[in-house]
Amino acid sequence: MTLYGAIFYLLAAIILAATALALTRRALMHAVVYLVNAFFATAMLFYLLGAPLPAAFEVIIYAGAIMVLFLFIIMLMGVKDGRDMDAKKALAVWLPPVFLGAATLAAGWVLITAPAGAKEALPMARATPAELGRFVFDRYWLGVEAVSFLLFAGLAGALFLGKSGDEAGKTAKDGQGGAA
């Protein structure tokens, strides 16, 4: 049971806890934030498992892009539920995120400041982002092109739905306003 094994199980626990909490929250905002936390832990896990580029992308795409998009949408829609949390439950609301956040930071700190001799524990460190990038564009160029089409389609779809949603906006129930 090496140090990294310990870190792995810690991170696994954090991910499971955070996801469990995220998926059971009544308030959408809390769910999203918990999930962001879970994705951070996952990013560290990727790094631990010798996949630095996916770890970075995990943070950029999942936590950064998708969850932020969720936040925008939730705020855009101004969903009312969960706002009238009274004080006495505040502790129960705040305690888990603080504890999880702290645990994630600790694991991250340990990982980064690992003793010099630990390099060999990460044989996969060779899977540097450059190698992975060259490998992806060498073997899976078709896949990349396909994903680009997919992304473009997603963009077009979102734009179209946004625009047509606009006309329908006039009939929107809560007069949210025509923000795209």
Binding site: V32, I66, V147, L150
Partner: protein, 101 residues
Amino acid sequence: MIVPLEHILLLAFILFLMGAVCALARRNLVMILLGLEVMLNAAGIAFVGASLRWMEMDGQAFVLFIMGVAAAEIAVGLALLVYCWRRSGSLDVNVFSRLKG
């Protein structure tokens, strides 16, 4: 191999299960999409674990693709969500049943 592959796969499986249960059980459209994200993420973990186990970079390459697909999918998903929200004013998934049998 710092951790036996089975443990990683177990983690991925549990995460996938939680995502699936959330997508099934929750009635709010946003939560369903979140559940979906968790499932995709669980797949990513499994791929990375496998990539580590067999020393092949294909796994990690695939994770990138997963993320690409997830991004595109969530863009359209959320656009649809806003569209439905605009049209019917509620996010309860059972309201959208006009295609019912």
